[in-house]
Symmetry: C2
Subunit: 446 residues, 2 copies
């Protein structure tokens, strides 16, 4: 009977109401936890000037930007507005624009949809909800804030109440960079970081081979290889790093920063949820210190479910002033998708309505809406079944939407004695609600 | 120091965190009230296939559609995706696509951003948040649902707690159409509706003149003119409509429907918040029965703050099946803008954080984050001031963000006796929180 293709576009999420409620519940948990940890929420526009987005974007990101044209616009080239592809670029613009009105360090959260014209494939999205936190300093930002970001994200995952542990894998790019400088590979930092970033997607032999291909000698390759194998709790990893005796200031600074973060996180009983791990470097050159990725260790195929790190200067493309920051992001649409695939979502958060009021006929419509209003005024979510259907059909409809049904017929209008039926148990109990009768029976007068 | 224009695009909203919190509070009230009244929330993608959007759009709307192009796309003409301009078209697609999985009548809410490339001017937005409710029937939908939609929107405005009354002005297009048929003007219904819709923006003489320009005789013009002057409560307006003795079935059906809606709304004590008003016709031909607009009577310049009505068939462009519906919408971005302009928003809904923890030096960072974690675990929103600033600067920062400050110095770490300072009153009281000390003082060992 359809006269047109009514499927959603590929690469977007579209859920039925029951599933949407579970998604929204996760998002509410994120917003509440971010707030609990002292972050202030902002929203920037979805549409930005193209020049703002292109100031940072590069390579694949630039190719994925959706430009906007209105009817009447002459050519694509003249399109000077586009959809944001992340929260970071708009945040940088926001901070520069509103600097004098903000209080630094600025602890900010952004929960909203971003857009990338990626090739559509399973589990990849073109429009997706990302939930970011960032702490932005003016000129300086103590390293302890990096621990705050990780603690906030761990608390957020705890609020999801999913039945599997979460692990934050933490490193510091200064450690990796310092080591490579010490090994006389300063000119190949980017390439080597890239190989380390992919190390878990290939065999150890392939990683070694890739490093050798860069022209590194066997000894250097072996050192890097054992370095990226380092992972564990604070005491073991910091000791092992110190034992490497790398005489490089950047390396030592990185180890010290990592040590401080791990110390703070362990001091608030997060020891089981964190791990130092030298394989974590994050793909983006953007990060300059702390880097972290969250995984669900029992579901290795899912990969990273959150990530972030420290950056030298949020606004370098927009201002000469320095705004160092640390941030983290949960890609909610993807997270929801994988949790759903793995059956890790709790369907119980989808709450049926508290009440459905079922008038037997039109004659009880006024009484029904009146009872509904009283229940709503008391905070009970309530619907009224006004449909012209057989009684059993109305009850069946009501039982799909609500926990309790209240039938209102002639008798109930007369006596004001209401009963509520619990649809799950079948039990019927008295409904104690003061029902004021209406002097006029409109529907009876038709 | 800026190297690029960092202002937001024109026609978009961008708020500081304190103001964003007030906006978000309104949105949360809307979501909660819609839920309380039994609506289920869905989200459709921002991006739709252009053919879906163009199936309904026409005239100005079509011109305002933002089409999307990716780098590499050859021409604007080939752009087959665009941003949605309202929630109705995506909802129609959604209902057709998911029909077999939905329960009808489907009470659905949508809160989200829509996009229109309008000419930028004060108070007009190109991206704006709209909060819609709709009740969709399959083949039939009793008129009582129209009352439910209006009652829900009135409850939503009540939840805003703004210090000015709200009035729902209600009519039914069948009344107007039936009258015009009776007056032998069936062929000019659209044009006359349009003149009625604009009647409040011009003088009565101009309205008469416009009607005469259509070729209507003086008597007809006078009848229409006194008709559109009818407004008031149920008993007066229904009586006056009946007294017109219009022998037309459409007219009588419209009066009957309006009567039923007003009756139900008056039966739940909304008499003061509603008014029958024959000037309400709504601009869109889309509506076929009930039409309504909400205003703030003390602020006539603001105009309509919500509106909606009954439509014959939501999905007529996409399916041969009939889905009659009734819906209403609050244009939140515009509403927020005008309430803000009129100083009707309550700034108190912006809550400071409960606590700011202020470690005197790095030596107390662990104790500070530990106290913060305990407060957060108890549900108190808390931040920690890790900055390397003078003590007074840290206190000043804390007092801008939080209601209470807790200073942690050497003494507090030793004695575990914590005090909280209420920044507003200056009062200092004991903070009763069990603080477990950490055996190791990392920061002291540096």
């Amino acid at each position: 009977m359809k006269s047109i293709n009514t499927s959603k576009i590929s690469g977007a999420q579209e859920l039925l109401p029951e599933t949407q409620a579970i998604f929204n519940n996760l998002k509410t948990n994120i917003a509440n936890t971010y707030r609990l940890y002292g972050f202030q929420e902002i929203e920037t526009p979805f549409i930005e000037r193209t020049e703002i987005l292109l100031a940072k974007a590069g390579g694949d990101t630039e190719k994925q930007i959706y430009k906007l044209v209105k009817t009447g616009d002459k050519s694509i080239e003249s399109a000077d507005q586009a959809l944001r592809f992340d929260h970071t670029v708009p945040l940088a613009r926001y901070v520069v624009e509103h600097e004098s009105e903000l209080i630094f360090p600025f602890k900010v959260s952004q929960l909203g949809t971003n857009f990338r014209g990626e090739r559509a494939q399973k589990g990849r999205f073109r429009e997706f909800c990302q939930c970011d936190i960032d702490i932005i300093g003016r000129n300086e930002l103590p390293i302890a804030y990096d621990a705050e970001v990780i603690a906030t994200l761990l608390a957020t995952f705890k609020s999801f109440n999913i039945d599997t542990p979460v692990l934050a894998r933490i490193s510091n790019r200064k450690i990796t960079t310092g080591l490579l400088e010490f090994l006389d590979q300063a000119d190949k930092v980017s390439e080597i970081m890239n190989i380390i970033d992919h190390a878990e997607k290939v065999t150890p032999e392939q990683t070694k081979f890739s490093l050798e291909e860069l022209g590194l000698d066997k000894n250097t390759v072996n050192i890097i290889n054992s370095f990226i194998g380092l992972h564990g709790n604070r005491s073991s990893v910091i000791d092992e790093l110190n034992n490497l005796e790398i005489d490089n200031a950047t390396f030592r600074k990185g180890v010290d920063e990592l040590d401080q973060i791990l110390y703070l996180l362990e001091s608030i009983n997060l020891k089981e949820q964190i791990q130092a791990d030298m394989k974590i470097v994050r793909g983006l050159d953007y990060y300059t210190g702390t880097v972290f990725e969250f995984i669900l260790p029992d579901y290795p195929n899912i990969g990273s479910v959150a990530g972030g790190g420290r950056y030298e200067n949020l606004t370098k493309h927009f201002s000469e002033q320095s705004f160092p920051g640390v941030g983290g992001s949960i890609g909610l649409t993807r997270l929801f998708y994988v949790l759903n695939e793995e059956k890790l979502l709790n369907p119980d958060v989808y709450d049926l309505l508290d009440y459905a009021i079922i008038p037997v006929s039109e004659h009880e419509f006024d009484e029904a809406i009146s009872v509904a209003t009283k229940l709503r005024d008391k905070g009970h979510s309530t619907t009224v079944v006004f449909t012209n259907k057989k009684f059993n059909d109305k009850m069946s409809y009501a039982s799909k939407l609500a926990k309790n049904g209240v039938v209102i017929g002639e008798e109930e209008v007369k006596t004001k004695a209401l009963k509520q039926k619990n649809f799950q148990t079948g039990e019927t109990t008295e409904l104690n609600i003061e029902v004021v009768s209406n002097p006029e029976d409109f529907w009876g007068n038709e």
